[in-house]
């Protein structure tokens, strides 16, 4: 899939580049901050960082409207931020506070923000394919021109739901876009061990779905591929598969001993491919070092504000553990409420009080 005119050209391109750069910098700052606070014990649960992959989230979401949908993965901070969730709502969620976007019930692996069409990170690898197929089907049935985008990793492409949902979207010509972040690893396992092909995009052929392969370190390249794909989907042209060749610069999870690759491998890739460094180089004719520094400073301020916001937010009341599951369970007249209230009464008296600090550690 070729775009005739790169979106990086001219003054419009520079402005676009600045937008993409800002998003990438915000993601980087957010994730470096998450790493620090996770290790400090402020963030419970698991956390997976997308450092090195920011161009995919930025280049994709820059093409989306607020009412378009995305589904994300266990590695979803970048997608979430790029789709429009505030750092406050995200950090408060990671800190397990009531002001978090999921009221502290989701955490990093299950962060979602329906106000911006973000249908959730997912603790199940390949969990997003069905959600996106369904959101795309829903757009058709409700006769809107919304599109739905699925982010997923190379590892997810070996699961059955990948196969079933891509085929379904192809035959029904749904406005879905499949954005593969091929970062060369699924946890400890390299793609060379889990598939014989090097370009996963070949699998799209088996569904009769058009595909593109792009340099996933180049936010412009991602933007261009998605621009075409989104236009196709929005105009009834059906789904597209976009394979972004990228790299995970951190461990699989925070704390990963990373025995499956050499430190130098990471350094080698990042020294030439860091998507932020590359974008800054592209924009260096248009923007001064001070302007770059300003972007970083803004992002750092935003993150510091989000941490302060999270710290000042309350942890949920323990009685909250028993509600918010069924649509009716806060209504005293609903049968399910009565059952939930009985469970609360049975267990809550024995609940240990738990500090706001982390119980977390890597998995």
């Amino acid at each position: 899939m070729a775009t005739t005119l790169s979106s990086s050209a001219g003054p419009a391109g520079a402005e676009r580049g600045l937008g993409l750069l800002r998003t990438m910098v915000r993601i980087r700052v957010l994730e470096e901050g998450i790493e620090k606070h996770f290790l400090a014990g402020d963030i419970p649960g698991f956390a997976h960082l997308s450092i090195g992959q920011e161009a995919v989230a930025a280049g994709t979401c820059a093409n989306l409207r607020r009412d378009d949908a995305i589904a994300s993965t266990h590695r979803g901070h970048g997608h979430t931020l790029a789709k429009g969730t505030t750092m406050r709502a995200m950090v408060a969620e990671l800190f397990a506070r009531t002001t978090g976007v999921c009221k502290g019930k989701g955490g990093s692996m299950h962060i979602a923000d329906f106000s911006v069409g973000m249908l959730g990170a997912n603790g199940v690898v390949a969990g997003g394919f069905g959600l996106v197929a369904g959101a795309a089907l829903s757009a058709v049935l409700r006769k809107t021109d919304q599109v739905a985008v699925c982010f997923f990793g190379d590892g997810a492409t070996n699961r059955g739901p990948f196969h079933e949902n891509l085929n379904l979207c192809a035959i029904w010509n749904l406005p879905a876009i499949f954005v593969l972040e091929n970062n060369r690893y699924a946890s400890t396992t390299s793609t060379a061990e889990t598939m014989k092909i090097t370009d996963v995009a070949r699998r799209a052929d088996g569904y009769g779905m058009p595909s593109a392969i792009v340099d996933g370190f180049d936010a412009f390249a991602v933007f261009d591929a998605l621009e075409t794909a989104v236009a196709r989907a929005r105009s009834g042209g059906g789904p597209t598969f976009v394979e972004c060749k990228t790299y995970r610069a951190r461990g699989h999870y925070i704390g990963d001993p990373e025995r499956y690759r050499r430190k130098t491998e990471v350094e080698d890739v990042m020294s030439t491919s860091d998507p932020i460094v590359r974008m800054q180089a592209v924009l260096s004719d248009e923007l001064s070092p001070q302007q770059f520094e300003h972007l970083w400073a803004e992002a750092r301020d935003e993150f510091a504000d989000a941490v302060a916001f999270a710290r000042n937010s309350p942890s949920p009341e323990q009685s909250e553990a028993f509600f918010g599951v069924y649509a009716g369970d806060r209504d005293p007249g609903d049968p399910v409420h009565r059952i939930a209230a009985r469970e609360r009464d049975a267990l809550l008296p024995f609940a240990p009080s738990v500090g706001t600090g982390s119980q977390g550690s890597g998995h």
């Binding site: 979602a112 369904g134 739901p161 918010g324």
Partner: protein, 328 residues
């Protein structure tokens, strides 16, 4: 009231809800072209078009996954599982997505999806086409589970499931589809989720049951009536949320309870009911809660074997009789 088959009752429910709400749609394997294995989809594609009545590939995981996605984004999907046994092919989508998303996401969303699952033992369909799996889903927080026993239930519970904002499993026994019965004429007739229905009163024993076993329990009660034993029958209708109050009420009134279902007895819904009774109604019980259910074996193919391994009218009558006669 009018009289229709169970299958037609589900059709009425689908038609009324699809007319009432444009976001309701149906998808499944081989549902449109021949009207479904049990005729339960007949005429729907003609009235609502193939956009809203979709034949699908054999991709159960995608169907349920896409059902969840559509439910999250403004539709009310009804997904037909063809046979309940194939829920196993979409278990992750059902259990780890549909059931959990609202809770995990802090109530940002609802998942108004209905799964229709023809289940139960009939006609030597064999081990992979005969299961009753409802117990798994009662144990799975986030799901609703309903099991109609007759055409009235079939219509009213299906409409309720479609209108519910929660993901709802609707288990319809394959052998019930041709059964006839009265159904209210009202277009807005729904059977409330979470409420059991007393089918007959009696003072000696209550048979607590659901689905196709309600018919068998009623037959057993009629047999025992001739012997002077008064048997009440409680049709649960909904398995989650379970109507514990109605069950406790039965214990308070008859003090002796039989729980019966076609699903495997061990770890079945009957265990939950019996355990509840033993815990919360201990003083009301004058005898053991007797549980009847299928043997702990895959359903065999040979008719003689199939018919031996799950409880029908005689086994139910025997348990109620012995309980009433204080022989247990």
């Amino acid at each position: 009231m009018h009289t229709v088959t169970f299958s037609e009752a589900t059709l009425e429910a689908m038609r009324e809800e699809m007319r009432r709400d444009a976001t309701v749609f149906l998808m499944g394997e081989d549902i449109a072209k021949q009207g479904g294995i049990f005729g339960q989809f007949k005429g729907l594609p003609e009235e609502f078009g193939v956009e809203r009545v979709r034949d699908t590939p054999i991709s159960e995981a995608a169907l349920v996954g896409a059902g969840v996605g559509a439910a999250l984004t403004g539709c009310r999907p009804v997904v037909d599982m063809h046979f309940a046994d194939f829920i196993t092919c979409s278990m992750d989508e059902l259990v780890n997505q549909a059931a959990k998303l609202r809770a995990m996401f802090g109530e940002q969303c609802v998942v108004p999806m209905t799964l229709r699952a023809p289940d139960g033992i009939t006609k030597s369909a064999g081990a992979q086409h005969s299961q009753s799996l409802e117990s798994w889903f009662v144990h799975t927080p986030g799901l609703e589970v309903v099991v109609p026993a007759d055409p009235e239930d079939a219509k009213g519970l299906l409409k309720a499931a479609i209108r519910s904002d929660n993901p709802t499993l609707y288990f319809e026994h394959k052998a019930l589809f041709p059964v006839k019965g009265p159904v209210p004429d009202d277009d807005d007739f729904v059977v409330p989720i979470g409420k059991a229905k007393p089918m007959r009163d009696g003072t000696d024993v209550t048979i607590v049951t659901y689905g196709i076993t309600v018919t068998r329990a009623l037959e057993a009660a009629a047999l025992l009536e001739a012997e002077g034993i008064e048997v009440a029958v409680l049709n649960l209708r909904t398995l989650w949320p379970l109507d514990y109050d109605a069950i406790a009420d039965a214990a308070a009134r008859t003090h002796r309870i039989v729980v019966a279902h076609e699903a495997v007895r061990v770890g079945g819904v009957g265990a939950e009911i019996a355990a509840f009774l033993g815990e919360q109604c201990f003083d009301d019980l004058d005898g053991p809660v007797v549980r009847l259910g299928a043997a702990h074996v895959p359903v065999p193919f040979a008719p003689a074997l199939q018919e031996a391994m799950y409880p029908k009218t005689p086994a139910i009558a025997d348990a109620a009789r012995r309980l009433a006669r204080r022989e247990l």
